[in-house]
């Protein structure tokens, strides 16, 4: 699959991208929301792996922007983030309205679990 990895930390991005590549995927890396839209434009992703804490425009803004393009409505998004999800008041919105299929808390997610989540991500019903 072709994965769009949106991760601002270069060193972390390297680990995640390498692990996903070893699992047989191609990976496009973006450090922020704007470059992620450009990369998605260049090659349609099969799965997006997204950190919510991004410089400039945050991951929620990216999700709303991403979902405003009809061709990207069904692309599954795996959240892989430092934000403890119980602190987000509206996690349900992320899942029901923004097509987030899996939420992973980064400090507790090994590379193996990340790869598994990506592998099992299925297209979203808009």
């Amino acid at each position: 699959m072709h994965i769009l990895l949106i991760e601002p930390d270069r060193l972390q991005a390297r680990s995640y991208a390498s692990a996903l590549a070893r699992a047989g995927h191609t990976v496009a890396r973006a450090a922020g929301a704007q470059s992620a839209v450009i990369l998605a434009d260049e090659k349609m992703p099969d799965v997006v792996v997204l950190e919510l804490q991004l410089p400039g425009h945050n991951g929620v803004e990216f999700l709303y922007e991403f979902r405003s393009y009809p061709e990207w409505l069904t692309v599954p998004v795996v959240l892989h983030t430092f934000v403890p999800l119980h602190e987000l008041a509206q996690t349900a919105t992320l899942q029901s309205e923004l097509g987030v299929c899996k939420v992973l808390y980064k400090p507790a997610t090994s590379l193996a679990v990340l790869c598994e989540a990506v592998q099992s991500a299925v297209p979203v019903t808009p």
Partner: protein
């Protein structure tokens, strides 16, 4: 280009949709020209002069020309006020999108100027980290009800008896008024707070009320129920 056909106004982005390879259609709320649907050409290209100037959570000065059907063309945009702190917090971002969606759905094509100012005030409140999200949500819901003509009766019971301190009340949704009950959930403080909220007092002022967190929780139940009842989306 014939500049006399160009129109200028302030605008807030309500929605953006895709159109072709390079263009976007923006739905904008204005104070004097209702809702506009404008084509923003080439905005998907990073080098477009418009890219970056049509930000969400902003008030933008726009120049546009009317189209033959209901979609005009955006000529230029200049960011006037950007409420940049909203996007520093994920919950504020999500509430911001939610309020925009609520307002977009609650208004038709020719909304009064009050709706523009309501959304602008909401952005200003979201931009202020000292104002709690629950309060902003409550305040916004109450203003939408007010603009829709659904302000509840906060002065008297349905039979005209004035509401008094020391008495407790339950809210009757059928009568849209408070009815005295011995163990009613609403007392004087809660009702006074609702009066202030529905009066259009700015969230910045409401946030300074003592005990605002508890008062907000009590009032929110009532207001969100009323929204579900009276504002059909």
């Amino acid at each position: 280009m014939n500049t006399s056909s160009q129109l200028v106004t302030d605008a807030i982005v309500l929605a953006r949709t895709d159109y072709g390879e390079a263009d976007r259609i923006l739905t904008l709320l204005t104070p004097d020209q209702g809702k506009l649907r404008l084509m923003a050409k080439g905005v998907r290209r990073v080098k477009s002069k418009l890219a970056g100037s049509i930000e969400l959570f902003s008030v933008t000065d726009i120049t546009y020309i009317k189209g033959r059907r209901d979609i005009g063309t955006l000529i230029s945009a200049r960011l006037q006020t950007h409420y940049g702190r909203i996007v520093q917090d994920l919950d504020r971002t999500m509430l911001g999108y939610d309020l925009i969606k609520q307002l977009h759905r609650a208004t038709e094509d020719e909304p009064e100027p009050e709706y523009f100012h309501l959304l602008q005030q909401a952005f200003a409140a979201l931009d202020d980290p000292t104002i709690g999200l629950d309060l902003i949500k409550l305040w916004f819901g109450a203003q939408l009800l007010r603009l829709y003509g659904h302000t509840p009766n906060l002065q008297t019971e349905p039979d005209g008896t004035k509401l008094v301190a020391g008495q407790t009340y339950e809210f009757s949704f059928d009568d849209s008024a408070f009815v005295s009950r011995p163990d009613g959930a609403y007392g004087a403080d809660a009702i006074k707070f609702l009066r202030v909220v529905f009066s259009g007092t700015a969230p910045q002022t409401l946030a300074k009320i003592s005990g605002v967190a508890n008062l907000t929780t009590e009032a929110s139940r009532l207001v969100s129920f009323m929204q579900r009842q009276y504002i059909h989306w």
